[in-house]
């Protein structure tokens, strides 16, 4: 059985990617399951989808815990523990990452021997969260070596048809791009055997330690305990204030923020709570003086990390 997992953010099209691959594999003569897994999460929140494919009937159910292929649409998800990108990844698991960083950087970072393929990201994405469903599905199809480009084309046409000819054309191009980019890895995904129930790892919640229990079960009588949920993880862009341009009319940005995460600091400037800001960018658009810039979250995180390193070096010397 082939077990394939897609990781992305809500809005990137991983549900569609799993559907496209599922349909392509089905058309190639395999039994298929495809399903997305998400809960109350919204656009920007980490989510996953998975596909199982086999030449025999599939009796396994539930999320794929031991994947043969993992595709990652947003590289920032590796830093998000709840996304579980690396969960169950073994030496034979093939990884495909949409990234502008080369394969050796990822090998260094992840410290694993698994085959890693990098899927170049196209630059021309205007959207805050670009839909990369067909790109990722095309890559997955090639890596399994089970789907011809013609069958992939049929699957995309069939699944995307309800969205109109423009969407079909866009997705056919993207699927072809993903398929083409993975030529070097064609057929590199191996099949793994059926797993008996006894081979599964014990769920981690059985040995829940006390600290985790405190977070997992907060005081339900506490007022507004939703602040324990860090919705800042949904963000792909970060609004950053330039105090030079700020007119301190904090009621403008403050009352336009749906989540109410813009407060006022001691000097009268807006103060964004990045633990909870979902990155909607309404403040960026609404500020009459254009004092907020929208910075890609990854750049912002890297800049913060660099500043921290510089500070540590400064203290050391």
């Amino acid at each position: 059985m082939y077990r394939i997992r897609f990781h992305g953010r809500g809005g990137q099209g991983m549900k569609t990617a799993s559907r496209l691959l599922g349909t392509a594999l089905f058309k190639s003569g395999l039994e298929v399951q495809d399903a997305p897994k998400y809960g109350a999460e919204r656009r920007g929140a980490p989510m996953l989808a998975f596909v199982r494919a086999d030449r025999r009937p599939i009796h396994e159910r539930g999320t794929v815990v031991s994947p043969d292929l993992v595709l990652v649409a947003d590289e920032t998800l590796f830093q998000v523990p709840v996304a579980g990108v690396m969960a169950g990844v073994k030496a034979s698991t093939v990884l495909a990452i949409a990234s502008q960083k080369p394969e050796n950087v990822w090998r260094d970072r992840l410290k694993i021997d698994s085959p890693i393929y990098v899927l170049p990201q196209s630059e021309a994405a205007d959207d805050e969260i670009p839909d990369v469903s067909a790109l990722i599905a095309g890559a997955a199809a090639r890596l399994t070596g089970l789907v011809s480009q013609e069958v992939l084309r049929q699957a995309v046409e069939e699944e995307i048809a309800p969205y109109g000819p423009k969407a079909v054309a866009f997705n056919l191009r993207a699927a072809g791009e993903g398929f083409g980019a993975m030529a070097a890895g064609e057929g590199s995904v191996g099949e793994s055997l059926d797993q008996g129930a006894d081979s599964y790892d014990k769920p981690d919640w059985i040995d829940l330690d006390l600290d985790l229990a405190a977070t997992a079960a907060p005081n339900v009588y506490a007022a507004a305990n939703s602040v324990l949920v860090r919705t800042g993880l949904w963000r792909t862009l970060r609004p950053v204030l330039d105090p030079e341009n700020c007119g301190k009319c904090v009621w403008v940005c403050g009352s336009s923020c749906p989540d109410g995460v813009i407060g006022v600091d001691a000097n009268g400037y807006p103060d964004i709570d990045y633990q909870h800001c979902k990155g909607c960018m309404i403040c960026v658009v609404q500020c009459p003086r254009h004092a907020f810039a929208a910075i890609p979250e990854q750049d912002a995180a890297e800049a913060a990390q660099a500043a921290q390193m510089a500070q540590m070096e400064g203290t050391a010397s």
């Binding site: 109350a40 656009r43 507004a224 919705t231 749906p258 109410g260 709570d273 979902k278 960018m281």
Partner: protein, 308 residues
Amino acid sequence: MTESQFKAARDLPSNHLLGSGTAMCAGCGGLGAVREVYDVLGENTIFINAAGCMTLLSVYPFTPFRGSWLYTAMASAPAGAQGVRDALDIRLAQGTLTKDEDLQVVVLTGDGSAGGMGLSATSAAIDRQLDFIYLCYDNEGYGNTGQQTSAATPHGARTATDPQAGGLPGRKKDLFAIWTANRPAYAATALAAEPLDLARKIETARDLTGPRLILTLAPCPTGWGFEPARSVEIGRLAVRTGIFPLKEYIDGRVVHNRIPHPRLPVEDYLKTQQRFAHLFEPRRDEKRIGEIQAAVDAYWQEVEENNA
């Protein structure tokens, strides 16, 4: 009535009662309205939540509220509000609850419940003159389940259940008119994108007793198809194009408190959203755009005639 505490936008609350960390979509136009309602009504508020998007506000064990929240099935939020109001009144009568501890009872509902299966219970609650605020966040579809058509979906919009070329053939149900026909204590339309107007209306509603409607338009990035950053701008366009009239029903009269002047063409609003994209591409659907514009023109002409 005493003078408003909200004279200018700078008087709007900058500290918020509603906790962050909720599962509402980034850029949710409904959440901003709920947040402001809570700020103006204060902590002594209990929300009776009809099933809908806002179900996800309070997913055990987390809550953004500082007090109680009662969750009901889609059709029964006003009935739930009746039970809560009765219990509070009994305790007030018994003297086990002081006047200061009394709670404002607020139904929180989406348009799916408000214009559809919840309508019967709402109508009955108004008949009984139930003392409650009915806060509807209208995102013009069943947003929580993938934007299927609701009673509040506008003419021509494409939804998950009306994907055909022309979009929805039917028309948006007028919940405000249904309410005012029942002669409530108060009814108002508002939206988070006009926070000062919203704050004043909640303030007015707060100080009245009886059934009170706050109907807010809730621009929905996920269901309407636009970038979350444009949520406030699109809400304002709904007002400036005259598609969403800001009005109040008080003392038995409807007053329009913002007559857009100049009134922008409806397409300025329609163009911003994917659900109306088929009106412009591959070619302009002059007939349907004309129909939508004509309906809005007719509405405002009637308003002007009534005012004259």
